[in-house]
């Protein structure tokens, strides 16, 4: 099945032109899990998403990282492919919101793949087959019962800008499928992934399907410097690799599960970033995605130059969190319903402010030059009723006032977040007009990604899309701010 009909013309040299990565800040050490359960931990460390993070927010963060590393503008992206096993909602496209948050054009084609850990491979192929530059984002934060799969699940996101004339060329692709149910499944209506734990059946199926797909790739297998193979735990890729002509070091270069945990569809994609980062110019990197059912997608990349993906630094960063705190953050220790409801801001009125909440679109007063945020009503300075000229505020600003909302002090719509993540800081941020513009504007925003007690007036902060709150079943997203 090597080189199927839709493969791009060799002359296009289609492949990866920029990459992006996002890992949640907090990490749960396996020793914590071992102390709790009395058995050796399934992974060395796992990234723990905050209560205000999900596959969508991580996808936006990784996508932004990729766009920032690309030499073209977000408006030039022609196709958006997203993959996750765990979209925020079971039914509802989430590509449009990612596109809006990243400032992509509204008319681009989108593709969402889900329901399988192989979704990341499918999304990369969707990007490879698209016309024009494609942004491929694989983001995941699977959930599992705290006693089983939940002991190893992590989170993270990888993004790839796929375009012609790439230095990292997608040299070949291959697939393999077989009827083998029950390896990893999520029942209808359930949020947690489960496994039947039939060890030999699982290991052999994964090994055979993934190694068969990867082996079919028309690449110089003896030149493979790194391989990112299906990795729910650290031993599995080596078991797959035993059926392939790669040495243990090549497999280790593409294995990240012991650093980020089982990040569902995203683990192999993050491993691919690690592999691209690890090989020298001229090296070959392969990826083997597996999805239970079962199916595998093999991808072979030839890297003409080394790629800086930042994966090593991101893995090295992070902050340790205790096992109870990790369970709490993930909502594993119960969730709460708030009495009396929350502030009712209607969905349409929230949607009207999306340009402000995602992209800090402000207004300039044509009379007095003051900057208004949000750009509505009379001018905040001269109080004239004007039509504001559109301006963008920079995504980086300074805290001019801040508080840390303690336990019991959160408005009802933030009680669940506080229950899971603890006290949070809320600042008034002053951000300058983006680019060469003059002036600045202030707005209130939550500070995230830091101990709220360490946040103070004068700190520089940068915007990141996060979950704000959920009402009527709909999660509202917007920018929060992370200290530099």
């Amino acid at each position: 099945m090597s080189g199927d009909a839709s493969d791009a013309d060799a002359g296009d040299r289609r492949g990866v032109v920029a990459t992006g990565l996002y890992l949640p800040r907090r990490r749960l050490d396996g020793d914590e899990v071992e102390a709790a359960w009395g058995t050796s931990p399934p992974v060395d460390r796992a990234a723990v998403p905050a209560a205000d993070e999900d596959a969508l927010t991580m996808a936006v963060a990784a996508g932004r990282d990729a766009l920032d590393r690309w030499d073209s503008a977000a408006a030039d992206v022609a196709h958006l492919a997203v993959a996750t096993t765990t979209p925020p909602l079971e039914e509802e496209a989430f590509a449009p919101r990612i596109g809006a948050a990243l400032g992509l054009a509204s008319e681009i084609s989108t593709a969402t793949t889900t329901q399988s850990t192989a979704a990341g491979g499918e999304a990369l192929l969707s990007g490879a087959d698209a016309d024009g530059p494609a942004l491929v984002v694989v983001a995941d934060a699977p959930e599992g019962d705290a006693a089983t799969v939940g002991r190893r699940v992590g989170a993270g996101a990888a993004a790839f800008l796929v375009a012609d004339d790439a230095d990292v060329v997608l040299a070949d692709r291959a697939r393999e499928s077989t009827d083998a149910p029950g390896l990893r499944l999520r029942e209808r209506g359930q949020t947690a992934v489960s496994e039947l734990d039939i060890t030999t059946y699982e290991r052999e199926t994964v090994r055979d399907v993934v190694s068969t797909a990867v082996e079919r790739l028309d690449v110089a297998h003896d030149a493979v410097g790194a391989a990112s193979l299906h990795q729910p735990t650290g031993d599995i890729p080596h078991r797959i690799g035993a059926a392939l002509p790669y040495d243990g070091a090549a497999i280790a270069r593409g294995t990240v599960v012991d650093d980020v945990g089982d990040a569902g569809a995203a683990t192999v994609a993050i491993g691919l970033l690690a592999g691209l980062d690890a090989v020298e110019a001229g090296g070959t990197v392969v990826a083997g995605f597996f999805g239970s059912g079962a199916t595998a997608v093999g991808l072979g990349f030839e890297a003409e130059s080394r790629v800086e993906t930042g994966v090593e630094a991101a893995i090295g960063a992070g902050e340790a969190v205790s096992y109870p705190a990790a369970l709490r953050a993930r909502g594993a220790i119960g969730r709460t319903e708030v009495a009396g409801g929350g502030a009712h801001v209607s969905l349409p009125s929230w949607q009207r402010t999306i340009p402000q909440r995602y992209r800090l679109v402000a207004g300039r007063c044509p009379e007095c030059d003051a900057v208004a945020f949000p750009p509505e009503g009379a001018c905040p300075a001269c109080h004239a009723r004007v039509d504001f000229e559109s301006e963008r505020l920079a995504r980086t600003g300074e805290i001019v006032a801040v508080t840390a909302i303690g336990q019991g002090g959160a408005p009802p719509e933030f009680v669940e977040q506080q229950r899971r993540d603890g006290p949070f800081a809320v600042a008034i941020v002053e951000a300058p007009v983006a680019g060469d513009g003059t002036g600045s504007a202030r707005f209130p925003a939550q500070v995230t990604g830091r101990d709220p007690g360490s946040v103070s007036v004068g700190d520089a902060v940068t915007g990141a899309l996060r979950r704000i709150y959920t009402a009527e079943g709909v999660t509202r997203y917007g920018l929060k701010f992370v200290p530099e």
């Binding site: 708030v338 009495a339 009396g340 409801g341 929350g342 502030a343 009712h344 801001v345 009125s349 929230w350 402010t353 949000p374 905040p380 001019v400 006032a401 801040v402 508080t403 840390a404 909302i405 303690g406 019991g408 002090g409 959160a410 408005p411 009802p412 719509e413 933030f414 009680v415 977040q417 949070f424 809320v426 600042a427 008034i428 202030r442 707005f443 209130p444 925003a445 939550q446 709220p452 007690g453 103070s456 007036v457 004068g458 704000i468 709150y469 509202r476």
Partner: protein, 391 residues
């Protein structure tokens, strides 16, 4: 134009009364106001009522004003419910003063009421928090404690001020409130207590925040003629100032003060023909400790950044040059939102007639300052003692 005079003022107990209705609490306030009238008061002479409430916890969003006056037996009089968040009854008083000065009414009831402690904490926070700037400020995760805490963070950064200065507000106001039998939290506290309480919204701790309170207050506002007939020592409303500001703190030019307070005070002083130096006492809106510091500066008691010095030097203590919140303030007396503005007038009326629990020595002029939200609406009223025989 006739002047407007206060001839009676009273309040219910302020506190947590989950078994009381807002109407019955207002009955108490009205009865105490009537009792404070020197002459023979006839309820049938009340021409009109303006009553402030945020909305009594959502249980009676419409027509709570008429519900109160009908319950009280003031049958048939026109009643207007006034809503300007925590400044609701400051504005109700303003309406009453305007009605009297215009000549449309001779005797007007101004007051306010609130009950909130019979609902869950979440319900209360939901209800209170949507009086700020909801779409942005509230949905960034703040209640009012958070917004005032932001103000405090900016103030502490801008000036020579510390958390201890915020705690001094609590110590002083609790010291006064401990002598007020109507107070919600009528106990003294030490500086140590007020420094070591748990944070509500850092840098504000529990002792820097007023409680959620049930209560009612009532003020009888009369024309010169009626005041002369019914009162031996009426109190003249010599200055009625009010101003609006952007509802969100982030939308205003100052993060360390409340511009509408400064404007309302200027207007009130100008009308009264006084300067802040002429004041003998003040009731200011200390919903959070930082609000009292800001009030000192907005109302011109001192220059910007000097408020901590006033507290440290005891200038605003009961025996200082300008006693502030001798009633205990919102911090100790309590803050039944809609009842707070006219509740402050109860204290001003008592001070100027020599009946206060913490009595200032022979005061002639006092001021009451009532803030809605974090500064979206403010009233400042100047009250003057009237020499006997002058009305």
């Amino acid at each position: 134009m006739t002047d407007a005079y206060i001839i009676g003022a009273g309040q219910s107990d302020f506190g947590s009364f989950p078994d009381r209705s807002y109407r019955s609490l207002f009955d108490d306030a009205f009865d105490e106001a009537v009792d404070s009238v020197d002459g023979d008061f006839d309820a049938d002479d009340v021409d009109e009522a303006f009553l402030g409430t945020l909305g009594v916890g959502g249980r009676q969003l419409g027509l709570s004003g008429p519900a109160v006056t009908e319950h009280l037996g003031l049958h048939g009089i026109p009643t207007t419910r006034v809503e300007n968040a925590c400044a609701a009854s400051g504005y109700a008083l303003r309406q009453a003063v305007m009605a009297v000065r215009s000549g449309m009414a001779d005797l007007v009831l101004a007051g306010g009421y609130e009950v909130m402690t019979d609902t869950s904490g979440d319900h209360t926070k939901w209800w209170l928090g949507v009086s700020g700037e909801t779409e942005w400020e509230r949905l960034s995760g703040t209640t009012f404690a958070g917004v005032y805490a932001q103000m405090a963070s900016a103030y502490l950064r801008a000036h020579d001020a510390t958390v201890e200065d915020l705690s001094r507000v609590a110590v002083k106001n609790h010291g006064n409130g401990a002598r007020n039998p109507h107070a919600h939290l009528g106990f003294e506290c030490t500086l140590e207590d007020a420094m070591n309480a748990p944070d509500v919204a850092a840098p504000l701790n529990l002792y820097h925040c007023c409680p959620t309170t049930d209560g009612a207050s009532a003020v009888l506002v009369a024309s010169e003629d009626v005041a002369g007939q019914l009162s031996d020592a009426p109190v003249r409303v010599s200055g009625a100032g009010a101003a609006s500001g952007r509802v969100g703190l982030f939308q205003r030019e100052s993060l360390t003060g409340i511009p509408a307070s400064a404007t309302a005070a200027e207007r009130a002083y100008q009308e009264a023909g006084i300067s802040p130096d002429d004041l003998d006492f003040a009731e200011v809106h200390d919903c959070f400790a930082i609000a009292e510091l800001a009030a000192y500066e907005d109302l011109g008691f001192c220059d910007r950044g000097e408020a901590p010095r006033l507290l440290r030097e005891g200038v605003t203590d009961p025996d200082g040059d300008l006693p502030v919140n001798t009633s205990g303030g919102l911090k100790s007396k309590g803050h039944p939102i809609g009842a707070t503005g006219t509740g402050q007038v109860v204290e001003a009326f008592a001070q100027l007639r020599g009946d206060a629990h913490v009595q200032v020595d022979d005061p002639e002029i006092g001021v009451a300052h009532n803030v809605g939200g974090s500064g979206g609406g403010v009233t400042v009223h100047v009250f003057e003692r009237v020499a006997e025989g002058d009305v």
